[in-house]
C-alpha cells in the first residue's frame, strides 16, 4: 500500500520534473578542458556558448575552464549542485566521467563532444572538418610551387589523421605529384612547438601550410616568410591578411542552438538521448570553409573577439563570408586541370563546385569516395564506396601523398 | 701606500704613541664572555705577542680590532683617535692587516687574484697583472718570495702564509696581526718568518703576534701580553721574562706535565704498514711509500707540521681513504682498503682530527652519538630494529665513566662543550677494548684539565695492550706520550726515533725533511 503510494508520488514528480524541464528555464553548464583564451577549441565552444546565451531568454549558462580530465566528475557535481540541468563536456577525455555522472544524475541532460558513449540522458556531438580540409587541399595543391605542402598536426589521433588524409586527397586531386609533409607537436596548444615544427617544414622546402593546432602560429610563421597558409578553427585572416588563403571555421552554436531548443521544446528529454549523435558537417552549417566567417553577430555586444577586432564599436554589418582570399583568386583561377569528372576546370571553380556538393543537404560527394589507396598502396575504400561513419572516426591509415611520421599506421 | 712612506729610521722608542689601542673591550657570546675588559696596544716598530691557551680570548680580541666582531663595550683607538670599526674593510682602511690562523684565501684563484681581491687602487681591467707587479716588488723588499701567477692550492702552507702577509702589506698595513702563524710552519720556515717580522719591525710596522708557544714568543716579541679566560693577566717586556713565569701566567698555576708512564712492554704488532701510497682530496700524492709498525702496548707518535700527509695517513688507516699501493695489516690480517665498518668491527678505534665535523652527528642526541660505531650490532640492533633500552643503559654507563657533562642523554650533541664532545668520542671509541687506537690531534684546542684527562686515557689504553697511533702537532705532547716517534715530511717518514733518545732539534730537522735517521 505504502509502497504503491510512494511509487506513484515518485512517478508524478518525475513527470512534473520532465514537463517542467521542457517549459521552464534551462541552466546549461559547460566544462572546458582548456583555457577559454586559447585560440581554438575551447575558445570556439565559449564563443558559441555566449551566442546561444544571448539569444534565448530562457537560457542561463555557466562554464568552468581548464578542467583536468580526471576531475570532471567533481566539477559536474558542483554544477549540478548549482542547479544546472544540462551539462556539456567538451573534451574526449571527459568521456568516462561524463558517462558515470550521467548514471548518477538521471535527471540531468548531458552532452559530450567528440565521444562515442551515450545513455538515455547523454548525447554526443561533433562538428567535423574533413570536407573543409579537402577543399583547402584543392587550393593548396594549386598554390604549391615546390610540390611540398606542410602540415603541422597536434596529435596523431583519427580526427587529425582524417583531416590530413582528406587534405592530401584534395592536394593530389589537382596536383598528383605533390606531397603533404607532416610534423606532430603532441600538444593541442603549444605555440613554440608549432613554430619550430613550421620552421622544420620550411627548411624541408614546404611552401603552403595547413595545420591542426589551437594557435595562429603556423599562419604567422609562414607569413613571415611570405608563404600562404590556411587558418584553423578561429578566423585567422587578420593575422596575415595577404597570406591566409582560406581556412576551417567552426560554428558550435549551430549545434548548441539546435540541441537546447529541442530540450526547451521537450523533444529531447532525459530518456531519449541514447541515439542522439550530432555529426554535423558543411551541410548543417556547423563548419565553414572560409578565411573570414559569413555571419557576425553584432547586435549582441561583441560576442566574438574576431568580429570585435575587425569592426570595433560593434556596428558590424553582416558581410558575406570570404571563402577564398581575393589575393589568391587570380592564382586559383589560372590553375586549370583536366579533371576526370568535370573536364578542364580551374581550381577556383572546382572548389566552389565541390563546396556546393557538400553543402547540398543531400550531399553528393565525399572526399573519401572510393577508390582510395593508403600510402602503402592498400585499397582502403573500394571504388564507388563511401566510408562508413565508424570507419571515419577510427581511421588510422594515411592517404597516398602523405609524407612523414605516422604513429599507429596499420 | 703607507708601507712606502715608512722608509725612514725605525722608530723603536718605547714611549712612542701606540698605533692601535683597545680600551676595556668586552665581548660575549651566548654562554661565554670571550673578552672581559681587555686593554691592549701595539706601538710602531714593535712585535707585541698575545700569549694564552686556546680559548683564552686572543682571537676574539683581534677579531674585534679587525672589525669582524663589534665589542659589547669598550672602544678602539687608532693613532690616538677613537674609531668604530664595523668591518674588515674599515680596519684595512685604518692600516690594520690580519693573517688568520685559517688562511682567508680563495684556493682556486691565483696568488695575484687573491691579492687583488678587494684591494683599493687595483686597475679595473686585468687587475691580476697590475697587482702581480707590485707583489714582486714587495716580496723582494721583505724577503717573501712567491710567484703571483700560481694557483694558491698548489702552494705549501708556508707559501700561503707569505701570500697572506703580502696581501696585508699591499693594503698598507701598519699593524699586522698574525694569529698562530707558526702552527703550520716547520722550524725552518718559522725562522724565515721571524726574519720577515724583524724586517717589518725595522720598517716601523707594529706586529701583533698571537701564540701559545712560549719559546717562540720569547724569541720574537718585544712585549708580551698574557691572556687567560678572557682577561689580561699582565703585560711584560720580553727581555725580562722567562718561560716558567709566562707558563704560570698562562695557566694560572705551576705547570707540571708529569704523567705516570710505565715502561713500554711492546707485544705483537697491532699495526703493520708497508709502503702505502695515498692521494689527497685534490688527487695529488699525499702519502708516499710510508712503512712502519705499531706494537700492542705501545704509543707510536707521528710528529710533523700539519699538511705533510698525516691526515691522509690516518684516514687511510681508518678505511676512509683509498690506498693506492702498499699493504696494511692489523693484528696480522691484511685489511688494505677494507671498509671503515669492518675495521671498526675488528677493533680499530679512531679519534678523528675534525671532531665536530666527523666525530659526532651534531643533531643527534648524546646517546645516539655514543652508538655511532656500533649501532648495527647487538645489543643495540637486532634484525634491523634498534633496541632503545640497551642504548640507554650503555649511554648512562659511558656518561658516568667518562664524566661527560650533559643535562640528559637525549640532549643534542651539538650543545656540548668542546671538551665534552671529545670525551664523548673517546668514550665511544675506547669502549670494548680496541686493538688499535688512531688518535689524531686528540687534545687540540682543549683546556688543560681535559687535555690531561685525555692523555691519561690514551696511556691507559697502552697499558691495556692496545697499539696507539698518536698524531699531533704538539711536539711536547708527542715526546711526552710516545714510546717511539716518527716524523712525517711531504708524505714520507723522515725518520723514527725512540722517545728516550729523541732531541728536540733533531726532530725539528726531521720535520723540515733535512735528515734521515734509521730507527
Amino acid at each position: 500500500m505504502n509502497m504503491r503510494k510512494l511509487v506513484l508520488v515518485v512517478a508524478a514528480l518525475t513527470l512534473v520534473g520532465l514537463l517542467g524541464l521542457g517549459a521552464e528555464k534551462i541552466k546549461a553548464g559547460f566544462i572546458y578542458v582548456g583555457p577559454i583564451g586559447d585560440y581554438g577549441w575551447t575558445h570556439a565552444h565559449d564563443v558559441a556558448r555566449r551566442i546561444v546565451d544571448e539569444k534565448y531568454d530562457w537560457l542561463e549558462t555557466v562554464y568552468i575552464e581548464s578542467v583536468p580530465e580526471g576531475e570532471v566528475e567533481t566539477y559536474i557535481d558542483q554544477l549540478v549542485r548549482q542547479g544546472c540541468n544540462v551539462i556539456f563536456t567538451t573534451s574526449f577525455g571527459f568521456i568516462d566521467g561524463t558517462f558515470a555522472a550521467a548514471q548518477r544524475y538521471p535527471n540531468v541532460i548531458f552532452a559530450h563532444a567528440s565521444g562515442f558513449k551515450r545513455a538515455p540522458n547523454m548525447a554526443t556531438y561533433m562538428a567535423d572538418f574533413y570536407q573543409v580540409y579537402y577543399l583547402n587541399g584543392l587550393m593548396a595543391g594549386a598554390l604549391t610551387k615546390t610540390g611540398k605542402v606542410g602540415y603541422v598536426g597536434a596529435f596523431p589521433i583519427p580526427e587529425v589523421k582524417r583531416h590530413i588524409s582528406a587534405f592530401t586527397i584534395g592536394v593530389r586531386e589537382v596536383n598528383p605529384t605533390a606531397e603533404v609533409h607532416v610534423r606532430w607537436i603532441y600538444e593541442w596548444y603549444n605555440p613554440a612547438a608549432a613554430k619550430e615544427a613550421t620552421e622544420a617544414l620550411i627548411a624541408e622546402g614546404c611552401d603552403v601550410f595547413a595545420f591542426t593546432e589551437d594557435s595562429p602560429t603556423v599562419v604567422q610563421v609562414a607569413a613571415e616568410r611570405g608563404l600562404p597558409s590556411f587558418g584553423h578553427y578561429s578566423p585567422m585572416y587578420e593575422f596575415a591578411p595577404d597570406y591566409v588563403v582560406s581556412g576551417q571555421l567552426v560554428h558550435w552554436e549551430v549545434i548548441y542552438d539546435d540541441f537546447l531548443v529541442k530540450i526547451h521544446e521537450g523533444i529531447y528529454t532525459t530518456r531519449n538521448l541514447a541515439h542522439v549523435d550530432y555529426w554535423w558537417l558543411l551541410a548543417q552549417g556547423a563548419v565553414e570553409c572560409a578565411a573570414v566567417p559569413a555571419v557576425v553577430y553584432c547586435e549582441t555586444a561583441c560576442v566574438s573577439d574576431t568580429s570585435c577586432a575587425c569592426c570595433c564599436g560593434c556596428c558590424c554589418e553582416i558581410s558575406p563570408s570570404m571563402v577564398v582570399n581575393p589575393v589568391y583568386e587570380r592564382a586559383l583561377k589560372d590553375y586549370t586541370i583536366n579533371h576526370p569528372a568535370f573536364g578542364t576546370i580551374s581550381v577556383y571553380d572546382l572548389v566552389f563546385l565541390r563546396h556546393n556538393q557538400f553543402a547540398d543537404p543531400g550531399i553528393t560527394f565525399d572526399p573519401f569516395e572510393g577508390p582510395v589507396y593508403d600510402r602503402k598502396g592498400n585499397l582502403v575504400v573500394p571504388a564507388g564506396m563511401w566510408m562508413s561513419y565508424d570507419h571515419l572516426i577510427t581511421m588510422e591509415w594515411a592517404a597516398a601523398g602523405v609524407a612523414g611520421p605516422w604513429p599507429g599506421e596499420p | 701606500m703607507r708601507a712606502d712612506a715608512g722608509t725612514g729610521r725605525p722608530d723603536r722608542r718605547p714611549d712612542s704613541p701606540p698605533l692601535v689601542r683597545l680600551e676595556e673591550v668586552t665581548k660575549s657570546f651566548p654562554g661565554v664572555v670571550a673578552n672581559d675588559r681587555v686593554t691592549f696596544d701595539v706601538r710602531p716598530g714593535e712585535v707585541h705577542a698575545l700569549l694564552g691557551e686556546n680559548g683564552a680570548g686572543k682571537t676574539t680580541l683581534v677579531n674585534v680590532l679587525y672589525g669582524l666582531y663589534r665589542p659589547d663595550s669598550g672602544f678602539v683607538l687608532v693613532r690616538g683617535r677613537r674609531v668604530t670599526i664595523r668591518s674588515p674593510r674599515e680596519a684595512i682602511a685604518l692600516g690594520i692587516g690580519m693573517v688568520h690562523q685559517h688562511f682567508k684565501l680563495v684556493l682556486p684563484h691565483t696568488v695575484a687574484e687573491n691579492a687583488a681581491l678587494g684591494l683599493k687602487g687595483t686597475p679595473f681591467w686585468a687587475p691580476a697583472r697590475g697587482v702581480g707587479r707590485r707583489l714582486r716588488e714587495l716580496s723582494e723588499r721583505y724577503g717573501l718570495p712567491v710567484d703571483p701567477d700560481r694557483r694558491v692550492w698548489e702552494l705549501s702552507a708556508g707559501e700561503q702564509q707569505r701570500v697572506e702577509i703580502l696581501k696585508a702589506l699591499l693594503r698598507g698595513a701598519e699593524v699586522l696581526i698574525l694569529d698562530e702563524p707558526t702552527s703550520v710552519l716547520t722550524p725552518q720556515e718559522t725562522g724565515e718568518l721571524f726574519k720577515v717580522l724583524s724586517r717589518m719591525r725595522e720598517e716601523g710596522h707594529g706586529v701583533i703576534f698571537i701564540s701559545h708557544k712560549l719559546t717562540e714568543v720569547l724569541e720574537v716579541a718585544d712585549r708580551i701580553t698574557v691572556m687567560r679566560r678572557g682577561r689580561v693577566v699582565g703585560t711584560v717586556a720580553a727581555a725580562g721574562a722567562d718561560k716558567p713565569m709566562l707558563a704560570r701566567m698562562m695557566v694560572g698555576r705551576e705547570v707540571v706535565f708529569r704523567l705516570t708512564k710505565r715502561a713500554c712492554t711492546p707485544g705483537d704488532a697491532a699495526l703493520n704498514v708497508e709502503g702505502i701510497h695515498v692521494r689527497n682530496d685534490r688527487g695529488l700524492p699525499a702519502v708516499r711509500g710510508v712503512s712502519f709498525s705499531v706494537c700492542r702496548g705501545e704509543i707510536f707518535g707521528i710528529a710533523g707540521v700539519a699538511g705533510n700527509g698525516q691526515r691522509e695517513l690516518v684516514e687511510a688507516l681508518a678505511g676512509l681513504r683509498r690506498i693506492e699501493r702498499g699493504r696494511v695489516c692489523i693484528l696480522g690480517d691484511d685489511v688494505t682498503n677494507r671498509s671503515p665498518r669492518l675495521l671498526s668491527d675488528i677493533g680499530v678505534a679512531h679519534v678523528p682530527e675534525e671532531r665536530i665535523r666527523m666525530g659526532i652527528v651534531p643533531g643527534l642526541s648524546v646517546e645516539e652519538n655514543l652508538i655511532l660505531k656500533r649501532h648495527h650490532r647487538p645489543p643495540f640492533c637486532r634484525a634491523g630494529l634498534l633496541h632503545p633500552a640497551s642504548v640507554r643503559r650503555f649511554a648512562q654507563t659511558a656518561i658516568e665513566e667518562h664524566g661527560i657533562v650533559t643535562s640528559n642523554p637525549k640532549t643534542p650533541a651539538k650543545l656540548l662543550s668542546g671538551g665534552n664532545i671529545q670525551k664523548l668520542i673517546l668514550a665511544r671509541e675506547l669502549s670494548g677494548q680496541p686493538a688499535l687506537v688512531l688518535a689524531a690531534h686528540p687534545t687540540y684546542g682543549l683546556d688543560v684539565g681535559a687535555t690531561e684527562q685525555i692523555r691519561e686515557l690514551l696511556l691507559r689504553q697502552r697499558e691495556a695492550g692496545a697499539g696507539v697511533l698518536l698524531v699531533s702537532e704538539d711536539l711536547e705532547e708527542v715526546m711526552e706520550l710516545a714510546d717511539r716517534i716518527a716524523v712525517m715530511f711531504r708524505g714520507e717518514i723522515t725518520g723514527v726515533v725512540s722517545a728516550g733518545e729523541a732531541k728536540r732539534e733533531e726532530i725539528g730537522m726531521m720535520m723540515a725533511g733535512e735528515e734521515r735517521v734509521r730507527g
Partner: protein, 363 residues
C-alpha cells in the same frame, strides 16, 4: 645577540617542538593573509572567499571527501619525501616516481594475466617496484658519480612524463578508444573500491596512513632510520662510522620513490581506471608533496596533516573556480605564497625574542 628596543634577540641551537609548530602555523596564516590580498585584488572579498571555501569544503560531505581524495597522493608522496629529506637527499622527483607507479600499475591491469583477486595487490607491488627503480637511479648517480640529485630527479620527471606520453600514443593506445591517446579501461578487478557516495579510494588512503606510521617507526626505531639521520645530518660522520651511502641512500630512495609510485597506482586504479596523458594523471602532486614534506618538518606523521591541508587547498582551488569565478591559476599562486612564508619562517625558529632584563647593556 641583538637588541631591538626593549627586546633581546638571541640565537638558539635547537628549537623546541612547540616553537616549530607555532612558527609553522604562523607561516600558513601569513600565507593566507597574503592570499587574501590576491582575492581582494581580484575584487572578491577575502571574507566571502574564505567563508565560501570553509562552507564548500569543510561544511559538506562532498567537500570533505574531496579534501581526502586530493590528500591521498599527497600523503604517500609527502611521507616518502620526508624520509628522503631526512637523509638530505633532495628528491624533487616524486612526480616522475608517481608516474612510474601509474605506468607499472596500468601495465599489470591491462596486460598481465593474473587471477582477479591478485590483480590489485600485484598492481600495488609492481607500482612500488617501478617507482623504487626509478628513484634509485638518482641515488646511485649521486653516490657513484656525484650527480646533483636536485637536477637528476627534476630531469627524470620530464623523462618519465614523455615515457607516459609515448606509451599512450604508441604501444599502449587502447583499441577501444577509437584512436585517441588513452589506454583501454581497466577491468573491474583492477579498480579500487570507493567509500560509498564519495570518490575516495580507501585502500590507497589506508596504505598512505600505514606508510606514514611505518616510515615514522623506521626513522626512530630501526637501523636504517638511524643511518638515514646520520647521513642527513653529517655525511662525514656517516663515512667515519662506516655507513654505506650507497645502501642508505638507495634504500631511502626505494622507499621514497616506491611510496610516491603507490600514489600513482592509487590515481590510475582509483580515479582514472586507465593511463592517460601525464598532466591529467597528476595535478602536480609530486611537486606539491615537496611543500607537504617541508611543512611537516621531516615528520611522516605530521605529513598526514600537512597533506590534508594541501588537499584542502586543492579542493578550495576547485571551489574558487566554480563558485567565486576565480581563475584556476590562483592555486599555484597560493602554493607559492605558502612555500615562501614557510621558508622565511625557518630562520625565525632559530631566534628567541625576549624582554631585555634590567641591567643588560644598551648599545
Amino acid at each position: 645577540m641583538k637588541r631591538i628596543g626593549p627586546f633581546i634577540v638571541e640565537r638558539r641551537l635547537a628549537p623546541p617542538r612547540h616553537v616549530v609548530f607555532g612558527v609553522s602555523v604562523l607561516a600558513v596564516v601569513v600565507a593566507l593573509l597574503l592570499a587574501a590580498l590576491v582575492f581582494w585584488a581580484y575584487g572578491v572579498s577575502p571574507w566571502r572567499a574564505y567563508a565560501e571555501i570553509g562552507r564548500g569544503t569543510l561544511g559538506t560531505v562532498d567537500g570533505l571527501s574531496d579534501i581526502v581524495r586530493r590528500a591521498i597522493p599527497l600523503i604517500l608522496c609527502g611521507v616518502g619525501l620526508t624520509l628522503a629529506f631526512r637523509a638530505q637527499f633532495w628528491n624533487i622527483g616524486a612526480e616522475g616516481q608517481l608516474l612510474a607507479g601509474a605506468v607499472a600499475a596500468s601495465g599489470v591491469a591491462l596486460f598481465v594475466p593474473v587471477p582477479d583477486g591478485l590483480r590489485l595487490p600485484l598492481m600495488f607491488l609492481a607500482g612500488f617496484g617501478a617507482g623504487a627503480l626509478w628513484a634509485v637511479i638518482p641515488a646511485l648517480l649521486r653516490v657513484k658519480l656525484q650527480v646533483n640529485e636536485v637536477i637528476s630527479t627534476l630531469m627524470m620527471n620530464y623523462i618519465m612524463a614523455y615515457i607516459v606520453e609515448w606509451l599512450v600514443h604508441g604501444p599502449w593506445k587502447g583499441p577501444t578508444m577509437r584512436g585517441f591517446a588513452y589506454t583501454d579501461m581497466f577491468p573491474t578487478a583492477a579498480r579500487l573500491p570507493l567509500i560509498a557516495g564519495t570518490r575516495v579510494h580507501w585502500p590507497t588512503l589506508g596504505v598512505g596512513v600505514v606508510a606514514a606510521l611505518v616510515v615514522g617507526l623506521i626513522l626512530s626505531r630501526t637501523r636504517l632510520g638511524y643511518e638515514v639521520r646520520v647521513v642527513g645530518q653529517s655525511p662525514d660522520a656517516a663515512r667515519y662510522a662506516g655507513i654505506s651511502f650507497t645502501v642508505v641512500l638507495s634504500l631511502a630512495m626505494v622507499i621514497s620513490g616506491g611510496l610516491a609510485a603507490l600514489a600513482g597506482v592509487g590515481e590510475v586504479a582509483g580515479i582514472h581506471w586507465r593511463l592517460r596523458s601525464p598532466s591529467h594523471i597528476s595535478m602536480g602532486y609530486g611537486y606539491t608533496a615537496i611543500i607537504v614534506a617541508w611543512l611537516a618538518r621531516g615528520s611522516p606523521i605530521a605529513a598526514i596533516l600537512t597533506a590534508l591541508l594541501f588537499g584542502l587547498i586543492f579542493a578550495a582551488g576547485d571551489l574558487m573556480k566554480t563558485t567565486l569565478g576565480l581563475p584556476f591559476q590562483i592555486t599555484g599562486v597560493f602554493n607559492g605564497l605558502i612555500l615562501f612564508s614557510l621558508i622565511s619562517s625557518d630562520l625565525l625558529m632559530y631566534w628567541r625574542i625576549r624582554w631585555r632584563r634590567r641591567g643588560e647593556a644598551w648599545t
